[in-house]
Symmetry: D2
Subunit: 310 residues, 4 copies
C-alpha cells in the first residue's frame, strides 16, 4: 500500500511512499490532504499515460485508488476507459458536483463553516437597514450556497444554476425592509452570474460555459445593492476558510466508509468504478456516471424557500 | 396552520395555537422542540381516537403533520391505517431508527456532539494506561455510538445490535497497550448488553426484547475493565447533552426540506405517508414501512473498523 | 429599570422600554445588542445635552448605565464631567481599546472567531507556495489581529500600532518558503498601514491620525505579495462575521459581572465611573482614564513571536 | 533546550529529549500535554532532591521551567526554597486554583467545554418539570462550575467553597417550577459537599480538609432532588471531556506569552518565581505566593446571581 505525493504529479514522477499504521496515525482529525495535491492533468502531460502505466509496473501495483473531485476523476475516467488503467475513484471535493454519490467527502464540513458565517452575520444587526453580502465557494454549482443559505436563513441566495436579476433582488430586499426588517443577508456563490442585460458588468473573460468570469462577484453586487436600495451594504468573502479545518463527523465517517469500500473493491479486482454514498450504505457507479455531467442542485431545493432568484 | 402543544396531549386536549410568520420567527437556530412534547400514547388514552377525530373536526383541519420518532409515528400508523385519520409523518429523532429515510432529523447534530466528546477524550492522555469509557445514547440501536465512535477513532464500540463479551474487549485493550498505546477509548451505547454468560450483572429487569435493562451500562463495565486490565478507567455519561443545542446545518436543511415536502403533500391530500431523505432529494414511504421494524446499523458498517465486539 | 433603544438616539428621543425578568429572558446566548445601536453622538446633536437631562427628569431616572465602546464612552465622559449627567460606563467593544479594564466585553468572542479562521486556513495547504492573507477588524488597534495571529500561529501579523514595510514581509515569506515551508498566513488588521515610502498606494484620504484610509488593505497587499514573492496569494476578508454569533463563556461571565457591578454602583450613587475587569475581580476607573487614549497592544506582546513587522 | 517526559518522573530518571523547531512543530493546536505527565512527587521519592540536582548537572542545565498545577508547583517551591534548585514555574491547570496569576493555562478552554454542555442541556426541555444535574470538575475549588454555571445561566450552582443545603436547593427548584418554569439546571462541582446534618450520605472517607470524599456527588444529589421535588431528574457527568481538545485562543495566547516570559527570565537567571497573567501583561510572583493557599472563587462572584447555595 503506497501513496503518491501531490496527486498525478507523484504518479508521473513515480515517487511513492509507504502508507502503513505508523505513517497514517493521527490523520483522522486533519483537514486538507495529507498527501498534497497538484493541478497536474496526466492526460495533457507529455507521455502522461505511458508514465503512469510504467509507474504501476515498476512498483508492481494492482491499480490506483484516486481521491479527488471532478477534474481528477474525469482524468481517471479517460485513463480507465481509453487506456485500461485499473482505477477506483473516491469522490472528495467540497463542491459536491459528482454523480454516483449522495454527497462528496468535504462538502458537509464546508457547509458547516459557511453556515457558521451566516449565523454570525445574523446577530450583527446593530444598525438599521444594513445588507450583508456573503460570497461562498462554488464556481460552477451552488451546493454550498444553497445548503448554507437555507440552513442559515439567508434572505436571498444566488447560485450558478440560475442567472440572477439584481433588480429583482434589490426589490425583494426593499420590500423586506419596508415590512419592518432592519437587516438582510445575501448569500452568493462565487460562480453566480447576472442574467444577460440585467446589470452593467466590469470587463470580463468568459469560461468554458460561455459565462462571464467575474473576480469577486460579491464585490460587484455589493455596491450595486447599496446604490439601488440605499441601505448600507457590507461584504464578506469567506474564501479558503471553507476548505480547511477539522472535518466534521459526517465527513469522517464518509471518508472511512468509502476508503474501506475502495480497498475491498481493489482486493476483488473490481476496477473502473467510483465508490459513493447511498444514505448509510456504500454504493458504486462507473467513472462515467460519476463525471459525465456536473451534478447541480436539484430544482426542488430551490422551492424550499422563496429566496432563490433567477 | 395550527400547532398542538406537547404532542398528542395537545391534540387530545384540542388546544391549538396559530403558527404563522410571527410566531415561528427565529426558531431556525433553536434545538429541541418549540411546541413541547409529552409521552402520551393516543391509542391507549380513553376515547383517544375519538377525541383526535373530534379535534380535527372542531378546528376544521384537513389532517395532521406529525413530527416525531418511532413511538409517535407508530401511533400515527395505527391512527392512519386503522382509523382513517389523515396523517403525514416527519421523521425526527436522534436515534435514527426509522425506515423510509436516509437519516432522521436530529441524528447528525447528536453525532456531532458525541464526536466532539470522543475527540476531547483523545487528547487527555496525560497518564499512562488509562481507559476512557464514554456512554452515548441509543437504547435499542447503536447509530450514535457507531458514527461517533468511527468518526472519533474509538478503540472499542459496543452497540445494542451485537451483545458483547467484556473479556474479549479487555483482551483487545490489553493487546493495544502491550503494543505501546498508552490510552484507549471505549464507546458504549446505553442499550448495549453483555452476551449471555460473559459477565456477572447486577440485578436487572428485562425490556420488551427480553434484554436486561441496565441503568448505566458504562458504570457497570468501567470497573470491570479496570479490574481485568489493571488500567485506571474513567467514565463519562454524556446524557441529555446529546439531545440539545443549536442544530447543525445538515439537520436544519433536512428539517426545512421535509417540512416543505410535508406541506406540499398535505396540500395535495396525499395522506398516510412519511416524508424522508434520499440524498439531496425528498422521498416518501408508507407509515408502515417507516415503523414496521427498528432500522439498525447495517452490518457493513461494523466491517469498517475492527473495533466492534459481539 | 428601563432600556433605551438604539443608544443615544433613544435617550434623545426619550423612548424608554421596561427591562424586567420577562423582557430579558433568553438573551444570555444572543450576540449583538438586544437594544439596538445608532451612531448618534449626543454632544453634536442640537440641544443634545438638554434633551438627555430632560429625559432623565421626565422618567425620574437616577442616571444612565451606558454600554459601549470608545465613541460612546467618550461622549459619556463629556456628559459626565462637563454637564454633570450621572453616568456609569460598561466597556463593550470587540476592539478592546479602552483603558481601565483588562478586556472589553465582546473582544474574546471576536478573537475566537478570527482564530478559527486562521486555524482553517492552516489546513488548506493543498498547493505549494501559497500565501493566505486574512484581513481582520481593528481600525485603530491591532488587538484582534495580534491575539488571533498568535493563537493561530500566523507567519506575519500587521497591526496599526506599527506601520509595516511590505518588502520586509515579502523577504520573510520567501525565506520561509526557501526553508521548505510550502504555505504562509499573513494576518492584517484593517487599519494597518504601510510605512511611508515603502509601497505605492492607490488614491486615499487620511484619517484623524493623518494615516491613509485604505479600503480593504488585504486586497492591496495581496497582489503586491504575489508580485514580489511569485507565490499564489489568496485573500479572505472576514468582515462582520467577527462581530456576531453566540458570545463565548468569557464574554458572558464578563457581561454578567460588569452588569451586576454597574447596578451596585448605581444603587450607591457612585456615578462618573466605568466598571472594568481585573482578572476575576471587578474594578472601576474614571471615565477619563477609560477613554483618554486608545489602549494599544503592549509592545511586549510583539516580542512573543517574530511575526510582527514595523 | 530539553524536555523531560512525564514530569518529575523524567527529571528523576534523567531522560531528556531535545526540544527544537522540528520536534515542536504543529503542537499549537494540541490539547493535553506533549511531554506526558506522571503523578510523581519528587520530594517523597527516595533521594529525590539529589537525583534532580544530579540531572541538572549531568545535562549542564541552568535550571528547570516547570509547567503544572498546585501539586507540581508546590513541589517546585520546596525544591527552590529549601534546596536551591533553580526553577521557574508556569501555571497550567484547568482548576485555576493558583495565586499570582489572573487565570491558569487550560482553565478558559475547560470553561468553554463545560458551558457548551450547559447550553445544550438548556434546549432539551422536552418534558415538563425536569431537572438536569451536571457534574463538573473541581475537587477543591468551584472555578469551572462558577464560570460555566454563570455563563450558561444555571439555576443552581454548588461549589466546594460553600457547603450546600440540599433542602434549600430543592425548595428553590420547586419555587421556580411553581412560577411556571418547566425546566431547571443544577451545576455541581465534583468537590461540593453538603452542609453537616442536611443530608444523609452514603459511606465515605474524608479528605485532607476533613470533608467527605463522595464519589460522584451528582449521582448522590440527583435522586435526592427527584425525591424531594417529584420532578424527573437526569444526571450528566462530563468527566475528562473537560480536560481535552483543542485549546481556545485565550489559552493559546496565554501559553505563548507565559512560555516566552519564562524563557526570558531563565535567560536573565531570574529563578524562584512563577510567571503569571495580569490582563494582557505578564507578571511574576514568588513560588510561595503562587501556592501558599488554594485560590478560591472570590465571594463577590457568588453575588452575581442568586443561584449559589451555602
Amino acid at each position: 500500500m503506497f501513496g503518491f505525493r501531490n496527486g498525478w504529479r507523484g504518479v508521473l514522477d513515480s515517487t511513492v511512499e509507504r502508507l502503513d499504521r505508523r505513517s497514517t496515525q493521527g490523520i483522522l482529525l486533519r483537514g486538507g490532504t495529507v498527501l498534497g495535491t497538484s493541478r497536474t492533468n496526466p492526460i495533457s502531460e507529455p507521455d502522461g499515460v505511458a508514465r503512469i502505466t510504467e509507474t504501476l509496473e515498476v512498483h508492481e501495483l494492482d491499480g490506483l485508488i484516486v481521491i479527488g473531485g471532478e477534474g481528477t476523476l474525469s482524468a481517471s475516467r479517460v485513463l480507465s476507459e481509453e487506456h485500461g488503467v485499473p482505477i477506483i475513484g473516491v469522490p472528495k471535493t467540497i463542491d459536491n458536483d459528482l454523480g454516483g454519490t449522495d454527497f462528496t467527502i468535504g462538502f458537509s464540513t464546508a457547509v458547516d463553516v459557511a453556515t457558521d458565517a451566516v449565523d454570525r452575520l445574523h446577530s450583527t444587526a446593530e444598525s438599521h437597514n444594513r445588507i450583508m453580502v456573503l460570497e461562498l465557494m462554488g464556481r460552477h454549482v451552488g451546493w454550498i450556497a444553497t445548503y448554507a443559505g437555507l440552513a442559515g436563513g439567508a434572505d436571498a441566495i444566488l447560485v450558478p444554476e440560475r442567472s440572477f436579476d439584481i433588480n429583482k433582488v434589490c426589490r425583494h430586499l426593499k420590500r423586506r425592509h419596508g415590512m419592518g426588517r432592519s437587516f438582510s443577508i445575501v448569500v452568493v456563490a462565487e460562480g453566480a452570474v447576472p442574467a444577460e442585460g440585467t446589470m452593467a458588468l466590469p470587463d470580463y473573460e468568459t469560461d468554458d460555459f460561455g459565462r462571464p468570469v467575474l473576480g469577486g462577484i460579491a464585490n460587484i453586487i455589493g455596491p450595486e445593492i447599496e446604490r439601488q436600495t440605499g441601505f448600507e451594504t457590507r461584504v464578506t468573502v469567506l474564501g479558503h476558510v471553507q476548505r480547511g479545518g477539522r472535518p466534521n463527523a459526517t465527513d469522517r465517517v464518509l471518508g472511512s466508509s468509502l476508503g474501506k469500500a475502495a480497498m475491498d473493491h481493489a482486493a476483488e479486482g473490481n476496477w473502473g468504478i467510483m465508490v459513493g454514498q447511498d444514505g448509510a450504505h456504500v454504493t458504486t457507479a462507473s467513472l462515467g456516471e460519476a463525471t459525465r455531467e456536473l451534478k447541480t442542485v436539484p430544482s426542488e431545493m430551490f422551492e424550499t424557500a422563496r429566496v432563490f432568484f433567477g
